[in-house]
């Protein structure tokens, strides 16, 4: 066996290749290729304010994530005594109520009739009052910026908390072009790019806490968000709006399970997912499912701002445009018109014999946020 003849070795290689490569075929069981489309209810009954409910449909996992909105449905909030509060669709798929002041402790539910006439209802849930946020604190730490929330309920009625947050921050590009490419010519820029934009992101993560193990209903310094020291959001001014929801035990369990359901399956470390529907049921057909949990509580929110000047001096500055500065120099041999016509590069300024160039993402902060100053800024 010291020498292996060529055909034999080819056979071996083929064998090994068949072991290591295997064959990957698409897996499309019938249940996936023709999935049922279920109603999805996203939102809560705001007991002290405007209730906003999004109605949509599930879509096949193999399709692109384009959410089919459920339009022209009729929806109303109903209490245990039969009183109704109507919701109006505006815009498409989003249903809002008037400003409501619902009775704490009374049971409420959401009722929906789709345009096809299928009736849905959520379970009756007791209206809860969300206690105010005691504090949203921030602390620069070794691991970065920590943002903490604290809340309490002396009546011990809350116990289950959920938070959402929305971050806003200033964006300041490093490169400000004085030229632009327009009509196959390089001309002085007519409308300069904005020098300041505001980035905005609503958190995807589900943040939950419960105080059932404590003898007081106190949430103290719950870590809501950690930003790296080098985060571009801390470049100049940063704001976070924290929204607090008081949950029932069942709603908490729903969000906890949703938090743990991941989107991938079948690899080495993937956890076991679970089936999760919520508290919305179809009244017309027992077999028809609806997804989502409609709770009833008020909303408490608090916004804080963090200025660059409040941060430790040794924290690095990062405006998110590190790769953009200094701008590149265009090779003088390159022909200008075809080069800029592609749209991948923009002229910045003129230097002897050629131009400094940059990319649209480097010069236009509207690609990362909005140039409109938020009302609270």
């Amino acid at each position: 066996m010291t020498r292996i003849t060529s055909p034999f070795s080819r056979l071996l290689l083929w064998l090994l290749a068949s072991l290591l490569a295997g064959c990957v075929d698409p897996y499309k069981p019938d249940v996936l290729s023709s999935p049922r489309s279920y109603l999805v209810v996203d939102g809560f009954i705001n007991t002290q304010g405007v209730t906003t409910i999004k109605l949509s449909r599930t879509f096949a996992i193999s399709s692109l994530p384009k959410v089919p909105a459920e339009t022209r449905a009729t929806a109303y909030i109903e209490d245990a005594t039969g009183a109704r509060y109507n919701l109006v669709e505006s815009p498409v798929g989003i249903y809002t109520s008037a400003y409501l002041n619902l009775t704490p402790g009374r049971a409420y539910r959401l009722r929906i009739a789709t345009v096809a006439g299928v009736l849905y209802a959520s379970d009756f849930v007791p209206a809860k009052i969300t206690p105010p946020l005691d504090a949203v604190d921030w602390r620069p730490e070794n691991a970065g910026m920590g943002i903490y929330v604290s809340a309490h309920d002396d009546a011990r009625a809350t116990q289950y908390y959920r938070w959402e947050y929305e971050e806003t921050w200033e964006i300041i590009p490093s490169v400000r072009p004085v030229l632009e490419f327009y009509n196959n010519a390089i001309i002085p820029i007519r409308v300069p790019y904005p020098t300041l934009c505001w980035g905005n992101e609503r958190a995807v993560a589900i943040q939950l806490a419960k105080t059932t193990a404590l003898n007081k209903d106190v949430v103290s310094d719950f870590l809501l968000r950690r930003l790296a020291r080098t985060s571009e959001r801390l470049f100049r001014r940063y704001s976070i709006l924290v929204q607090q929801h008081a949950l029932t035990k069942e709603e908490y369990a729903y969000w906890e399970a949703l938090q743990k359901n991941t989107e991938s399956l079948g690899t080495l470390f993937d956890p076991q997912p679970s089936q999760l529907t919520g508290n919305v049921h179809c009244l017309s057909n027992d077999a028809e499912l609806a997804l989502g949990f409609v709770g009833a509580h008020s909303l408490a929110q608090k916004r804080i701002f963090i200025e660059r000047g409040q941060l430790p001096l040794d924290w690095p500055y990062n405006n998110g445009y590190a790769g953009c500065f200094p701008p590149d120099t265009l090779d003088p041999k390159v022909r200008v018109i075809p080069f800029f016509s592609s749209g991948y590069s923009v002229p910045v300024s003129q230097v002897p014999g050629t131009y400094l160039i940059s990319s649209p993402d480097c010069v236009d902060c509207r690609r990362r946020g909005s140039a409109t100053r938020p009302s609270f800024w």
Binding site: L20, G22, V24, L32, S62, P65, L258, E263, Q272, Q275
Partner: protein, 924 residues
Amino acid sequence: MKQAYTFVLLLFFGLLALPGHGQQQPPKLVSGAFNHTPFGQFVGQVEAQTGLKFYFDPAAVDSLFVTVQAQSQPVATVLEQALQNTKFHFTTDNEGRVFVYQGKAIEPMVMADFLSPQPVEASDVAARPDNADLPATPTGRSRYVSAAEYKVYEIGSGGTGRATLAGHIRDLKSGEPVIGASIYSESPNVGASTDQFGAYSLTLPVGRYDLKIRGVGIKNTTRKVVLRGNGKLEIETEEDIVTLKEVVIEAEKDKNVSGMQMGLEKIDIKTMKQVPTAFGETDLLRVVLTLPGVKSVGEGSTGLNVRGGATDQNLILFNDATLYNPSHLFGFFSAFNPDILQGVELYKSAIPAKYGGRLSSVLDITTREGNKKKLAGSGGIGPLTSRLTLEGPLVKDKSAFIVSGRASYSDWILKQLNDKNFAKSSAAFYDLTAYVSHEFNDKNSIYATAYMSSDRFRLASDTTYRYLNQTASLKWRHTFNNKLYGVLTGAYSHYDYNVSSDGNKVNAYELKYSIDQPALRADFSFFPNSRHTVDFGVSSQFYRIAPGSFTPLGDKSLVTPNVLPREQGLESAIYASDRFDITTRFSLSLGLRYSLYQALGPRDVYQYAPGESRTENTLLDTLHYASGKTVATYHGPEYRVSARYSLNDRSSVKAGYTRTRQYIHQLTNTASVSPTDIWKLSDGNVRPQIGDQFSVGYYRNFKSNTIEASIETYYKSLRDFVDYKSGATLVLNPHIETDIINAQGKAYGVEVFVKKLTGKVNGWVSYTYSRSLVRANAGTPADMINGGAYYPSNFDKPHDFTMVGNYRFSRRFSSSLNFTYSTGRPITLPLAEYYVGNSLRVYYSDRNAYRVPDYYRVDLALNIEGNHKVKKLAHSSWTVGVYNLTGRRNPYSVYFKATNGQIKGYQLSIFGQPIPTVTYNFKF
């Protein structure tokens, strides 16, 4: 056995030819004076003078002396004179052969014995010209063994009433013990079988007996014994060379019906060698998977699910040391070199009281003892691996060694592939086994085993997986007297894995896990009389687990080290069992094992709010236990009861009840077993698992025990085995109890098994209908799975059909055909996507609500033996086979991946096309 026919036929022809031919030939003349000359010396001289060849039993004539004077007298006359007044007679044939024997004529019993087992195959006899020049003693049989069959052994003296006969059954050529052979007397019907050391003990009324010896891979033999008192009888048996190509899957032919055991499967290495495998390599676990009641979640996985039990509920013993990962290369190969294996026993129900610590089964793997007579070797060359075994005596007949190694050369092949997909791949493994046995004297023997298997692979990525098994065991067997012997065993097991990634220097890491388990046990067997067999003993084992460490790899790595504290525990047990033959038809086996487990410090134990789902949010307190302090104690009895009632000689009914307790749990969140699964000890927050199994079976043999059939049905309930909350994180979880739940399970099924042991067509067919269901309904709704209802376990495959068939064209050619069908395993599917809470979510089905496509495979193999000359440099054989003949793409794994925002399902088939293999095996 064919050689036996040749012999018998030759004898026939010889006898027929006697009256005529013997006198027609010119008489050979002999001269000489012999005065009290040993018969052997006399024969030597006669052979020298006449050219005749004498055949006789040297043992039988050892006290025969010849006194005769001859002057050119015919041989016949001289012999008549020489043998007059002795019990010996002679006969000659026309080919110059002289047979000297005892008794009045050639013993008709001999012929009857040889004729009865099988029909004569005339063509085979005709095709064996090379036998013609061999002696008339059976070809391939030592004369010595034949002699031993006719010798009358007088054992002991002066005894009255009952006496105990003990000793060993060993292989004549290699001196290895014959395990599981039975020795019995037909009247009265009393028998015993040999243990793992080949030892037996038989208690009989004093008197004269014909003891019959039957066993796997040995030739049937008998011993004539006059038992006068307690004594020893060492028995040497011959290897049944011809059965190399036969399926022999159990020991005694009527064991199916008359044996006490139910739910026991024995397979010897010869059977394993015939089952076709993907890479031509004999694979123990692959063969075990063809047995009824044994399943795995998928191809390429060697995790066994026995009767609806999880993969961690099997006690895998390699010469009495626990093995934690019995596979190579993610489960494509089992980690045992076939050349060193003696056989395997799988207990599915009625687990003997001696064993404990796992719920579902015991897989007891034993190695061969090594050739005690001469140096020998064997090996094989396959497409991915090669192996070599050397064995021989250290002190002849006293001690032997066997050393065996196997290694893959897949790494080398990968380097030859100029494919950049494989450029970052490597796959290499090896295993080594060494075994030494030494017999100090009649009473004391020691046996030492060392085993190591190692794996290292990286599949087209920068993550390298490594795992390592090491075990060692040392056994001392001491015989107190014929009725009592004991075995003291010390064993050590180690398993660790190591995952490292160095693709990105900044987050290069190393993830490690290890378990060490030293164990000490003493087992005794006591045979007070022929109706009782008592086993008792104690055992203790210590577990030390390093549950995980995540450390940076290299100077540039910024990974934060995360090292979980060690876990320790001590598991001890005492047991006693008695097998009581109440009547010849009715036997009862009663056993009790009591096990005690202590989780030991140092350890930090978390306390959770009672009545709440355990999460980090309900953590109340942390208790610290100092080193050596007991953190938690669990103990309880384990009952082992079984009974057999023989309806008649051919059929019996058996029933059993078994309770088992398990204190160590394997945490695996993936559908199949992977090397990165971790083992977790019971502690204050994780209770031990308890299993109860009831089983009833009907057993019947057909056609003089050549066809065995059985139907077994069982019901099993499992308590507190580990299941996972939705979204559990198992790796590097410091509070693993928040992610696991104690689930309840039930499993039931019917197993139908028919096997044919002899003849040109042999093999077995099994069909199993079984369900394995799990329920997690304890605690809060958050801890429930599927709303607390029973749901199918990962390995619930209701229908399972297996056929292993073997057809022997001739002595040198045989073919094997495997057919396997089973229901696809359950899977949880992502059914749809939706937006809630500002993020894309996936709507999953109930856990295990769907099934992957059914599994179905056909394999074919052709075994070609070299010629059957007994004396040649090396015996060789070729195995040519095709695995997955129909090329069906059975899914190995089904997974979902998000690509460009779309989640798509894929199924990976590992052996998606027919895979041809060639293996060359040799033995010298």
